[in-house]
Symmetry: C2
Subunit: 138 residues, 2 copies
Amino acid sequence: MPVAPLIERLEARRWRITPQRRAVAETLVGEHVHLSADEVFSRARTGFPDISRATVYNTLNELVAMGEVGEVRSPTGPVLYDPNGTDRHHHLVCTGCGTLFDVRPEGVDALHLAPGQRHGFRVEDVEVVFRGRCGTCP
Amino acid sequence: MPVAPLIERLEARRWRITPQRRAVAETLVGEHVHLSADEVFSRARTGFPDISRATVYNTLNELVAMGEVGEVRSPTGPVLYDPNGTDRHHHLVCTGCGTLFDVRPEGVDALHLAPGQRHGFRVEDVEVVFRGRCGTCP
DNA sequence: GTATATGCAAAGCATTTGCATTAAA
DNA sequence: TTTAATGCAAATGCTTTGCATATAC
């Protein structure tokens, strides 16, 4: 089942849609997209030239909090935003330049990355990060 | 086979040992230790009261570059340094407060965390990060 | 003796905040 | 009409940098 576009999911949530938020949402489309807040800011300005950085940050943080957008911590630069927040997938990241690819779950076999999904990388390390809430966090 | 203490591994590398570097290395001992640069700074001062922040950052960056210390990106705060850089392990991190535990590889079964290693967390997400070098990075 | 580490203070960057203004529903 | 989003500019927090001085080897 294909997932509905981000903007439709946001409308379905009855999230207040402003032109600024729409401009941000429009930058966050497609597979294998990973944008920094600043890249989102630049692109959103083509849809809404007067948008401010603060609004971009506010919007991105809310999208992440809603689970509609994922955030990925690059080892080299700022946080990257991943529009594919609803679709589980993993990452392949270059410790040299920060280049980042998505990895489909089927490509991962017992912590081993399938050759077809190595994108020319020499894979040196695997880390599994479990996320959740500890006993004292609600 | 037990791994030699960090300070000995550094001597074996013929790394220039200064009192400041020794003080930093001494903070980075033990299992399940994850310290921020600032925590390392505070603790290192007990061994060498006049050490500067810049030296702590320099030293930590070099230890990471040598692969002797690992760095973990907390979702909530600054980078954490993990002395256990030579021993492969995974992480369990709280998205609320940033609390972080090590997970031994044997506890991970097909991307499922063994109950005995959940530390009271409600695990909500798993991400596998493959690290390596892309085709153009040396 | 010489290459290299250190400390200082300032700069850099990414991100957040407070608050008055504006606009969506 | 009311509630919430926006923009601005300043502040914050973490980390890096440049450069003169000190020091391990």
